[in-house]
Amino acid sequence: MARFIKPLRSRLLGRRKSSSGKDNSSQDQAVDNAFSNQELQNQDLSADLQANLLHIKEILSDCSDVVYREFDFAQDERIKLAIIYVDGMVDKMQITSQIMRSLMLDAPLVEQGEEFTRARALTLIKKRLLPVQQVEETNNLGKVIDAVLSGDTVLLVDGHACAIINASRGWESRKVEESQTEMVVRGPREAFVETIRVNLSLLRRKIKNPNLKIETMRLGEVTKTDVAVVYIKGIVNDKLVTEVKERLNRIKIDAILETGYIEELIEDNPWSPFCSLNHTERPDRVAAQLLEGRVAILVDGTPYALTAPLLFVESLQTPEDYYQRWPISSATRLLRLFTLILSLLAPSLYVAVITYHHEMLPTALLLSLAAQREVVPFPAFIEAFGMEVAFEILREAGIRLPRQVGQAVSIVGALIIGEAAVRAGLVGAGTVIVVALTGIASFAYCYSASISIRLLRFPLLVLAGTLGLYGVICGVLTILVHLATLRSFGVPFLSPVAPLSAGDLKDVAVRVPWWAMLHRPRLIGMANPQREAGGLKPTPPPAGRKQ
């Protein structure tokens, strides 16, 4: 691994050097001053409740969603209390019944002869009167503000320079639903949601092991988004975890609203059209990745998790491959490989052959194609390019359009682009077939890879229109060379094919049965290569012992 990490380390160092230039550092400073509560971190609470409240109100001025509630402790006017929380981010039932009710009404009942005094109030409250699962005591103002804004309830007690933070987070959240973008026929259906705690629990439920480590950090100077780095200790390569955390710690940005922000800030190949981190919304997929020795990055506020390192072959794999019977999985995976090639090459090969290499087609087919194209006023390149653009428009519109007008678009798309355009002689039927096939094929494999491939289809079309088959070959070779240059967290993108590790080919173009996949991928899971015991192949019982 060291061999793979080295070049990447040096690249990182290079980047660091450039970021310590004058311009950047002054910009960093600006962000720091405006939004980090560095000065708050150094301030302590005072013993005076009113002073504390005033101070906090000043910091949270013009935040109309913050609620301040002052009341007396145990019907006793001498001891004043106040709670602070953000409306809508807390579980109101919990605040009413477990905090306020307990402190105001139930407290006198548990008095048991002892007298509440201002001095003893804090310890009593904390020990006996807060039936909340998680409380924390602090005297730091910055922590108090953070807690309030994260959905916790802060309790201030008069006469004590100290606040009690009650875990009371509870906000409106989407339920765990079926995955919308990564469908399977057989396999778990649940998908991540926008709340990081729920997502982590989904992972923990799949991997009930103390070695499943979840390290959290807060990124985004303004948004203070929770980010979790998840891995399985003992399987993952420790250097990879260090590397991921190092890259995450370098991030200094105002906001992290989606994993995409992080992806572009920590990837290996910032100029490439191909991703160097995988993203998925399926917990079973993340769990499988973790079990192979990868690291996952979850971000609060998005159902997409990142996993690294990413290999090119992952664009051909789906979670279902591992649940289906292996001959079927292998066949569909080969099919997916074919669709990947088809979606990259079909239109450009069509244009090249129609324009420059007629001799490659069987005569009958050539004649029928020529007959269709007789009325078409454009060269094949313009025709195919226009159709591809039209298809992309339809696809994009299909994503953005309001659900109610969905039918209109599909009718317009299918009829006008297909039928009517052919009948009007604007495009040949052959072109429509090729473009439609390409479009469908591009959805048959991993979506994130298909976006990159779809993009590359256009330069290839231009090459096909200008240089024919030669241009297409050169284009493909360039893509191949580019893919060979890519690395994802030090692991070559094209491995295990190039560089070849023969043992890992069991899970590339085909998927061999589970009893034969004894090892984790070599370059990723090398810290702990053995995945299962050998000799698990089921055998029928000896003939003599028939039931």
């Binding site: 061999r3 080295k6 070049p7 420059y356 290499h357 001799e359 490659m360 069987p362 240089l467 024919g468 088959l469 030669y470 241009g471 070959i473 050169c474 070779l477 360039t478 191949l480 060379v481 580019h482 060979a484 240059t485 070559p492 094209l494 094919v497 190039a498 560089p499 070849l500």
Partner: protein
Amino acid sequence: MPEVGKIDSKQAILLMVIMVLPTGFLFVAAVTAHLARQDGWISILLATLVALLIAWLAVSLGLRFPGKTLFQFAEVILGRWPGKVVAFLYIWWYIHMNAEVLRQYGSLLVAAFMPETPISVFMLLIMAIAAYAVRNGLEVFSRVNQLILPLILVSVVILNILAAPEMNIKQILPVFEHGAVPVVKGAVMPAAWIGEIITMTVLIPYLNKAKEAYRIAVTATLITGFFMLITQLVDIAIFGPITAAWLFPGLDGVRMIHLANFLERLEPVVMVIWVAGVLVKISVFYWAAALGSAQWLELKDYKPLVLPVGVIIYALSIMAHDSLLDLFAFLGMFWGPYALTLFIVGIPLLLLIVAVIRGQGGSRH
């Protein structure tokens, strides 16, 4: 060191194979048959044996100076200035050889596929891709090759099987019709071709396991020789002694394929093999030339030299020959003796002898 990448033994074997094969497929049969007629296959056998010796020579030389390429240990052996001269000669050889390969590449595409396109377009595109690959280092084009070469070898085998109905194996008779001399003469050119394995002297410092260098060189030579032999036999079996009359017997052999009224006109497959194979072949020599120049000038990195070296190769390939026939005459008559005596056998043998006599370098590594 200018190059930081390391490749494993499998990658090295594949790299050494593709360094020879793509041009071999299409050109060698004609050149060899020109002299040896139907005995061309014996010439190839002979050439392979010679190449094995060359491989041994290259690896023995390379292993004596671990971590040093030919461009560096020449100085150690001969002293600073004579060493520099030898290294410069090799840089020239790699540039020249690459220019010739590039010209063959362009010529074939123009002559056989797209006669109306200027040759410079073909050569410029492939050089641009090669420059991109070379800039990214040895590891990158080794990986590309790892994807490409297996596909090429499989396609070649399939094409040969498909061409089987056209073959008449009796055409290889009579053996030794004109005695042994033409056969030996015919072996010179393929020996120079397969003998390009001398590039091992540049590659050895970048192997994961330098100890396996002998195995790598021998395996690569045997694979290359085997495929050259098959090609030669197939071409002779299809065309007979007139193989020499074809410019690109390999391509014309594929043109003969007609099966089931459907599998015909398979030349585009040849074009794919040709372009992909030559890309890596050019990259290897291009890399050797750029790396050599950097080491000759004692630079830390060869990447700044990629563009200048590429421009020289490109310009040379355009200026070197007036026509396809000129190119063929040059390759058939001059290239074999020139490369073989000077660069493949002559200088390395001299270096090895001097090193042994002076007791320089150890076999320890």
